[in-house]
């Protein structure tokens, strides 16, 4: 049995099944089992690719190499932990009267379909299909963002749909231009949008068209990554949607969009002399990092604040890939992994905390350590991890990015340090009283699933202390692919 086919088929089939079957008693279990099987298939696929190198599936339709198999494994893993987390979380929401049964059904089936679209986007070899899958990923999550049907959530979903729709339309124009450039070299055929074909002739692509195309692609997919000034949808969608959705949007969707940019950057770098694509990404990255970090201190809603923190980290990662080269690419990939794991863990902890206290306003959440020490410590440790405190993996990747910047782009270092410092002050200052302040809270009918928080944090901690050699090899391999 082909593990790749399983990785894609399980979320698709289970998504349709969950939609058809309706909200039964076994639906949450099916959701978890499907995510677990997807994850197992992804792990086996990864093992296969690491052992025997890149390969095509179904002719040249899909292409799996060490770069995207790494994202596939990460996506499947966070998908699994989120489905475990969402079981009790959604049951609590149901009993608080916030969600009806049909909406739970919508949530589960859309969640699986969302996983499917992301996995297609990651593994397809065709840049046109990549666009289609990215747009489909937006479509599957729009109704999830508005799941509570409150005025604010409808507004957030509307903004998300329109802004990402417009953004992704720019990316389509970029794709058309790319096809136009490719067609002059590869001829009129369906092959001219296949990434592997494009990569083999990237030196011959016309630099003028490629430059314009990359700008459109960066702006288009950048809207989904949350790059400033196109980030407006992101905090709203994260704050108003259900917490499991915030966790996968932050932990996975942003990564997938960034992956799309990386694939295009490889082509643009080959076609355009003088580091045009790199400079553009460095500029956007720094701007994003700086603006987001200053917005952090003004936030009152806890999920909104962590959404801004996601924007900030995406900026840092974009900057790292903009610098390019083996070390910076390695650091960028590591930081993406660490951010995914840490940020989704934080959202899990925040979700439970918000349920316990019945609010997302930070000033009203106090003394988590007394209400539930496990959630309190989960949030505290997660926050320390995301702020780049030493034993955790985020420190390792941020340290690599900083030292690389000091060596090759010293002008950027003060900006990086300023932004990271401001972010630290803002987030730590707000989370500390949430965890250690005086309290008033209620009991939840369903015990929260807190394991995912600590599983994620344990991995992040492990990466900070010791990265297993086979993982290092794998990261190096992927970083080398990016040039």
């Amino acid at each position: 049995m082909d593990f790749f086919v399983l990785t894609l088929a399980i979320p698709l089939v289970s998504g349709l099944l969950l939609a058809l079957a309706g909200e039964r008693a076994w639906a949450p279990n099916l959701n978890v089992i499907a995510s677990l099987s997807t994850f197992l298939a992804a792990v086996l696929l990864t093992a296969e690719i690491v052992a025997s190198g890149p390969r095509f599936v179904f002719g040249e339709t899909f292409f799996i190499d060490s770069l995207n198999v790494f994202f596939v494994a990460l996506t499947a893993f966070v998908g699994l932990t989120t489905s475990i987390f969402s079981g009790p979380y959604m049951r609590n929401e149901r009993e608080h009267g916030k969600l009806s049964l049909p909406r739970l059904r919508l949530y589960k089936s859309m969640f699986q379909l969302f996983m499917f679209t992301m996995l297609v986007a990651l593994t397809t070899n065709n840049l046109g299909i990549l666009w289609v899958a990215m747009e489909a990923a937006t479509l599957t999550t729009v109704l999830l963002v508005s799941l509570y049907r409150t005025a604010a959530s409808l507004e957030a979903a509307w903004k998300y749909f329109i802004l990402c729709g417009v953004g992704i339309a720019q990316a389509l124009f970029g794709t058309i231009l790319l096809y136009f450039a490719a067609e002059r070299v590869l001829g009129q055929s369906g092959d001219a949008l296949l990434w592997t074909h494009l990569a083999s002739v990237k030196g011959q692509l016309d630099p003028t068209i490629m430059a314009l195309s990359f700008i459109f692609l960066l702006v288009g997919y950048g809207t989904k990554v949350g790059l400033v000034p196109l980030h407006n949808w992101l905090p709203d969608a994260h704050a108003e949607g259900p917490t499991p959705v915030s966790a996968v949007l932050s932990g996975l969707l942003l990564n997938v969009a960034l992956y799309a940019i990386l694939r295009c950057k490889v082509l643009a770098d080959g076609a355009i002399p003088g580091g045009f694509a790199s400079n553009l990404m460095m500029g956007f990255g720094l701007l994003t990092l700086l603006v987001a970090s200053f917005f952090l201190s003004r936030q009152k809603d806890v999920k909104r604040m962590f959404a801004y923190s996601s924007i900030e980290h995406m900026g840092l990662i974009t900057f790292a890939f903009g610098m390019g080269g083996a070390v910076a690419n390695f650091a960028g990939l590591l930081h993406m992994t660490m951010h995914s794991l840490t940020k989704s863990a934080i959202f899990f902890a925040v979700g439970h905390a918000a349920q316990k206290t019945g609010t997302q306003v930070m000033e009203d959440i106090r003394g988590l350590i007394k209400i539930n020490p496990v959630i309190g410590w989960g949030l505290m440790l997660g926050t320390l991890a995301i702020l780049g405190m030493p034993p955790f993996g985020v420190f390792a990747s941020e340290f690599m990015i900083l030292t690389h910047a000091m060596k090759h782009h010293p002008w950027a270092t003060p900006i990086l340090l300023l932004a990271l410092g401001v972010a630290f002050a803002a987030i730590f200052g707000k989370v500390q009283p949430m965890v250690f302040g005086e309290t008033h809270a209620k009991r939840l009918p369903h015990a929260p699933a807190i394991t995912p928080v600590f599983v994620h944090l344990a991995i992040v901690l492990l990466f900070g202390l010791y990265i297993p050699p086979y993982l290092t090899r794998w990261f190096h391999e992927a970083a080398r692919m990016l040039g």
Binding site: L154, W158, A169, G190, T208, L212
Partner: protein
């Protein structure tokens, strides 16, 4: 533009100009139903121009995409929009944020920008349709302008779909259309998007008793 241009190229340029003209007409339109009809007309023109390109170049897959355009952009989507307007009792007047003449002037500037951006690329293209790339970009920008300056959710959606028309025109004009599988995927996305929007309209209306997006401006940085 030289006189010995083949008839087909002239036809394509004509259709492209009509599409641009319709984009301006949509920008100036005050009534929702007429706006939807103009959008349908734009889809029809797009289909005709695709047919001419298909006939001239003998690209078989372009016939399919012309058929797809006709079905989706000229018939199905306008029909869905008409149904929505009827079921939701949308008031027929459109309120614009900027008055219409000012919007038109901004539109003219956008067209000039689009032509300038597209110029270096058009020169590189060998297709008979290369002149229309600038027009396509102009249609995209005009649709974008419409989305920014209008207050009704439904007008924003028509703007969004009209942007898709511009992109499609760009695809046929620069490259004789994208590969079939991609085009099918795009059509599917547009269709699902329209359906989700329909669902969404009902949710918005249920919540606010209106489709005015002024209600959707509460989430701001304070």
């Amino acid at each position: 533009m030289n006189a010995d241009m083949p008839l087909s190229a002239q036809l394509i340029n004509l259709f492209a100009s009509v599409i641009l003209l319709l984009a301006f007409a949509m920008l100036a339109q005050r009534r929702v139903l007429t706006l939807i009809n103009l959008f349908a007309l734009q889809g029809l023109t797009l289909c005709l121009s695709t047919l001419v390109v298909a006939f001239t170049t003998g690209q078989a897959h372009l016939y399919w995409s012309a058929a797809l355009t006709l079905l989706l952009k000229a018939l199905l989507l306008p029909w869905i929009l008409h149904q929505l307007v009827r079921k939701l009792n949308v008031k027929s007047e459109i309120e614009a944020l900027i008055n219409i003449p000012a919007t038109m002037l901004v539109g003219i500037v956008l067209v000039m920008v689009a032509f300038n951006v597209a110029l270096p690329i058009s020169e590189l293209s060998q297709t008979i349709t290369r002149g229309t790339l600038g027009i396509a970009l102009a249609v995209v920008l005009l649709a974008f302008l419409m989305m920014i300056t209008r207050q009704k959710a439904i007008t924003q959606v028509v703007g969004f779909l009209s942007m898709e028309n511009g992109l499609f025109l760009a695809a046929t004009s620069a490259t004789y259309g994208m590969p079939m599988v991609v085009e099918l995927g795009i059509a599917l996305d547009v269709l699902i998007g329209a359906i989700i929007l329909g669902v969404f309209f009902f949710q918005i209306r249920e919540q606010f008793d209106s489709l005015d997006i002024r209600h959707l401006e509460k989430l701001k940085e304070r």
